[in-house]
């Protein structure tokens, strides 16, 4: 019998891993830059978010949990910026995309 916290972690981390899998699939299979970016940023933001939420009950200290959330927020910031930059270049190269 697994505890409630462990079950919560298992469910959320699995959901996050599934999103990463779907995101990777999209990155490999989608036809154009913008939709590939869409797949990638979904995995980065929501997938990592779910994994962080899932890991929160496992954090031994409150500071540890706050650090996990900070990692997610920083990853969000960098992923969003990188997506914007790549999308900007793609849009300039092919204005109708």
């Amino acid at each position: 019998m697994i505890s409630l916290a462990d079950g919560f972690t298992l469910a959320f981390v699995s959901a996050g891993a599934l999103l990463f899998l779907a995101g990777t699939l999209g990155l490999l299979r989608f036809p154009d830059t913008l939709s590939r970016l869409h797949a990638l940023s979904k995995a980065d933001n929501l997938g990592l978010g779910l994994i962080v939420v899932g890991l929160l009950p496992q954090a031994e200290t409150i500071a540890g949990g706050v650090k996990l959330i900070c990692i997610w927020l920083l990853a969000q910031l960098s992923a969003a910026t990188a997506s914007q930059l790549i999308a900007g270049i793609a849009a300039r190269r092919k204005p109708d995309a």
Binding site: L74, L77, S78, A80, T81, Q84, L85, G88
Partner: protein, 310 residues
């Protein structure tokens, strides 16, 4: 389960390494190399060497990747096609790498079990340094001479990069800002540096007792500085500025000074009086971090290509 992960990690590393070597696309190879550095960092973390993992991710993945990308852009911008290595040369390199790999594999497999180790001596002498992280103790106390030379080598590398500048540009600044800076980059360059500085300070401070230290913190600071310069928020400094040169030399200079004072107060070069070992080590680390950050930032910025203002 963790065995499956480790095998997948090792397989990924080998596949990525082969891709970096065999691909014909220069930029693709560099990006794969950055990925390789991050994956290798994960590998070190799996081996419980968190200090090495952090350094590998920061330097092997991030900083080296950026250096290579800038070099590649520079070559592409000049329209120079890198000369294709002739077939025999390529084979020679492959055979050489193969022999080194086989030799290393043989040496690792021939290790006596348990492997010879100084870990116990380090652990038993750790109290004398006042530090809690054995890696930092080895880097700054037991093997301080290696660390000192390492820091001097990167300054020599920087002098090598500067010497590529043309005569009128000597002492000038590098032109980092692109012709048009995209808005999101400016946003990131405004948002991220405060966090980066906090993380770097944390890395230096925590390095005494937990994984972290000068090189990791210095790389983060350098990355923040480069971000600000790339977004055009601040120009790159003139390399002849006295303050900048002082900053570059301060870390190693303080290290050498404390090293020589060791002759007077502690019985040898680079040895510390036991009572104040920890404050001395932390002071050296802080100074080294600033010097490393400045050196790495300027290394990526490249040779000065703007003449100094008179």
């Amino acid at each position: 389960m963790s065995l499956v992960f480790d095998v997948a990690l090792a397989a990924g590393l080998i596949a990525l390494a082969l891709h970096v070597v065999t691909t014909r696309d220069g930029k693709g190879a560099i990006i794969a190399f950055i990925g390789f550095g991050l994956l290798l960092g994960l590998g070190w973390a799996r081996l419980a060497s968190v200090d090495v993992a952090l350094t590998e991710a920061a330097i092997g993945g991030g900083l080296t990747g950026m250096l290579l990308l800038r070099a590649q852009a520079h070559i592409a911008g000049r329209g120079v096609r890198p000369a294709q290595a002739a077939r025999p040369q390529w084979r020679l390199a492959a055979v050489g790498c193969g022999i080194v790999t086989l030799g290393l594999g043989f040496v690792v497999l021939a290790f006596p079990s348990p492997a010879p180790s100084l870990a116990r001596e380090v652990a038993s002498s750790l109290d004398a340094t006042g530090l809690g992280n054995p890696v930092t103790a080895a880097l700054l106390a037991f093997r301080a001479i290696d660390t000192l030379l390492e820091k001097i080598v990167i300054i020599l590398a920087l002098i090598g990069v500067w010497s590529l500048a043309s005569d009128p540009n000597w002492g000038g600044s590098s032109h980092l800002r692109p012709a048009s800076v995209p808005e999101p980059l400016v946003f990131l360059a405004r948002m991220l540096p405060p966090f980066g500085v906090v993380i770097a300070v944390y890395q230096v401070w925590v390095g005494a007792d937990l994984p972290g230290g000068t090189f990791q913190a210095g790389t983060i600071l350098a990355a923040m500085w480069l971000l600000v310069m790339l977004a055009g928020l601040r120009p790159a400094p003139e390399t002849r500025a006295a303050g900048l040169r002082l900053l570059l030399a301060a870390g190693p200079a303080l290290f050498i000074l404390i090293g020589f004072l060791g002759f007077l107060f502690a019985g040898g070069f680079l040895s510390y009086p036991e009572a104040i070992a920890k404050p001395l080590i932390v002071a050296i680390e802080v100074a080294l971090t600033l010097s490393v950050a400045a050196t790495l930032g300027l290394l990526v910025a490249g040779p000065p290509d703007k003449a100094p203002t008179p």
